[in-house]
């Protein structure tokens, strides 16, 4: 790897990267400081730090909306979907990685094909299925769709990972009289934890932030997730700046904080995803 011994080059490097970081931070920073200003101050002193912490926008937001419910819904949907994705795709991957049977190769490609299928285009069909199953306008509808969406990537990552688990481990367990499901749960599952983490991390952001499916599958206020609620509140109160910035900040701060805490794991998970492709 090249080392920059040259001071000028190093300075240029820092200048470019600092400018780049400013383009990232400034809009987010602006959103947060503006959310802490009063309606008047937003217009009179747009660039300055807030004179005092004005939580008016946030208080109003929690008064006019069921924000805690939206938050709870987003958490339920995301966590349930991720757990089911991990469970189902590791089962599939285990079978596809360790057993040869007629059509196993085909099945692998069948699941992988989902990586390039834009699921949005099937929304009319999904909507009708959900209506038939009486799941339309419920959190179950979202969870099912996200699971279907997450399986291809899960299988893609986990199959290769499970292949690397030495066969001797399962064989010796088999000799000890371990049943096949038991081998999976007792031996394989704990060994593939890093890959499971990568799958969860890569699926987390798109599920948490998804707007398309709530928009089309959810109608009732009490089952809205954060992105849908954000869009609806934004449409209703577009001119109430004090409130609107609080809406945007409330929607993004939990994920930003979550990311900042786990950024190392995120980058690791994403990198392993990139190299697998």
């Amino acid at each position: 790897m090249i080392k920059f011994n040259n001071g000028i080059l190093k300075t240029i490097l820092y200048v470019i990267l600092i400018i780049y970081s400013l383009t990232i931070f400034y809009p987010i920073f602006l959103m947060i400081i503006t959310s802490l200003k009063g309606n008047k101050e937003i217009f009179t002193r747009p660039y300055n730090l807030p004179q005092s912490f004005n939580l008016g926008g946030y208080i109003q937001l929690f008064k006019i909306s069921n924000y805690l419910i939206y938050f709870r819904n987003s958490i339920i949907v995301t966590i349930t979907s991720l757990l089911i994705i991990l469970f189902l795709s590791s089962l599939i991957s285990y079978v596809l990685a360790k057993y040869k049977f007629t059509g196993s190769r085909f099945l692998y490609f069948y699941f992988i094909a989902g990586l390039i299928i834009p699921i949005k285009l099937g929304t009319i069909g999904i909507m009708r299925e959900m209506i038939t199953l009486k799941l339309f306008d419920t959190l179950y509808a979202l969870i099912i769709v996200y699971v279907a969406m997450g399986i291809p990537f899960g299988v893609f990552i986990l199959t290769d990972f499970i292949r690397l688990v030495p066969e001797e481990l399962s064989n010796s367990a088999r000799i000890d009289g371990c049943s096949e499901p038991k081998i999976f749960f007792k031996i394989i599952f704990p060994l593939i934890r890093p890959a499971l983490a990568a799958v969860a991390i890569i699926n987390f952001i798109p599920i948490w932030n998804d707007f398309w499916f709530p928009l089309n599958l959810i109608r009732t206020d009490s089952v809205k997730t954060i992105p849908l609620a954000t869009a609806i509140l934004f449409g209703q109160y577009e001119t109430n700046y004090g409130l609107i910035f609080s809406v945007l900040a409330t929607a993004s701060l939990p994920v930003i904080i979550f990311y900042l805490i786990l950024s190392r794991q995120f980058v690791k998970g994403l990198s392993s995803g990139a190299l697998k492709g």
Binding site: M1, I2, L13, Y14, I16, L17, S21, I24, P27, I28, M31, F43, P46, L88, Y94, F101, I116, I117, P118, K120, L121, G122, T123, I124, G125, I126, R128, E129, A148, I151, P152, E180, F184, I205, W208, N209, F211, L215, I226, P227, T230, A231, F234, I244, F245, L248, A251, S252, V255, I256, F258, Y259, S263, R264, V267, L270, S271, A274, L275, G277
Partner: protein, 312 residues
């Protein structure tokens, strides 16, 4: 292998595959087949029952308003894709090169590059709409302060500019993904190869040209394919920044927003009914599939060519 064992084994394979297979098939594969099926149907009512052959397709490609909207959205989507690809690949690659150098703080820059991606597209879209709007006008004021006031214009009100603006906001959001992908690729390069190149007297540019670039071609392929699939069904950014009608004058209409209106809006407000909605979905699906195959083929071929050279 005994028969009983085999039977038990098959039973267990079936059990392990069943759950995932059913959900994946019923809610990802079947809905697409459903779209293809209904693209050949027409007639009155919400659910079109009459078989009409290729009538929907013919209408879509030859009759207005379908034709106008479809080709408008197609052109915009291609432009949008090209702008986003340019930003994410060129700037992403450039910054990835920078953050893989050895210097204090390189991991910090890597990590924060992904920060915008954690925001929902809706939030990013609304935020930039506010920053760019003339009422609050914070961006316009900024331009005036630095002496570029003559550049001020209705950013989201002019068709040709609005499309570029939403493409830049999308790139702002997802640049981090390509940076992380490229850094992963660069980090994976064998350090011995780089050392050897250095001993042979290769400068930084030669290193990028002959070692880094060729070895991350597959990752450029993945990034481009991901952008391609995302952009050809992109909807959120249009909804957040220029509305479902893709203002101004459908100037920012993308395939995603066209599909949304045509399939889910009532007729008269931009809806074309379920049959035509399904037809548009099918056509987009077809375009995405062909595009992905072309991209896969292109990047694979180059990768194979490289391997061949190495052997020779």
């Amino acid at each position: 292998m005994t028969g009983a064992y085999r039977k038990k084994r098959n039973y267990f394979i079936l059990l392990f595959l069943a759950g995932g297979f059913i959900i994946y098939t019923a809610f990802l594969v079947a809905p697409l087949l459903h779209a293809i099926f209904y693209s050949f149907r027409g007639g009155p009512g919400i659910v079109p029952r009459e078989f009409v052959g290729f009538q929907n397709y013919i209408q879509l490609f030859t009759q207005n308003p379908y034709k106008e909207r479809f080709f408008g959205a197609f052109g915009n989507t291609v432009k949008f894709f090209l702008i986003v690809t340019f930003f994410q690949n060129f700037i992403g690659f450039f910054i990835a090169i920078l953050v893989t150098r050895r210097f204090r703080g390189n991991t910090f820059f890597r990590r924060i590059s992904f920060l915008p991606t954690t925001l929902s597209v809706i939030v990013a879209g609304f935020l930039f709409t506010l920053i760019l709007n003339p009422v609050w006008g914070i961006f316009d004021k900024f331009l005036e302060v630095i002496g570029l006031g003559f550049l001020v214009r209705p950013w989201l009100g002019t068709p040709s500019i609005a499309l570029v603006v939403i493409a830049i906001v999308t790139s702002w959001q997802y640049l981090g993904t390509s940076i992380i992908f490229y850094t992963a690729g660069i980090d994976a390069i064998d350090s011995e190869v780089l050392e050897a190149a250095k001993i042979d007297g290769a400068g930084p540019l030669a290193e990028i040209r002959y070692i880094i670039f060729p070895s991350i071609i597959p990752i450029i392929g993945i990034v481009t394919i991901l952008i391609f699939i995302g952009d050809f069904t992109q909807f959120d950014i249009v909804y957040a920044m220029t509305g479902s009608y893709a203002n101004p004058q459908y100037g920012t209409d993308l395939f995603g927003s066209l599909f949304y209106r045509s399939a889910f809006f009532p007729t008269g407000r931009g809806g074309y009914g379920m049959g035509m909605g399904a037809t548009i979905a099918t056509v987009i699906f077809f375009i995405v599939t062909i595009g992905v195959l072309i991209l896969l083929f292109t990047f694979r071929m180059r990768g194979l060519g490289r391997k061949k050279e190495e052997i020779e």
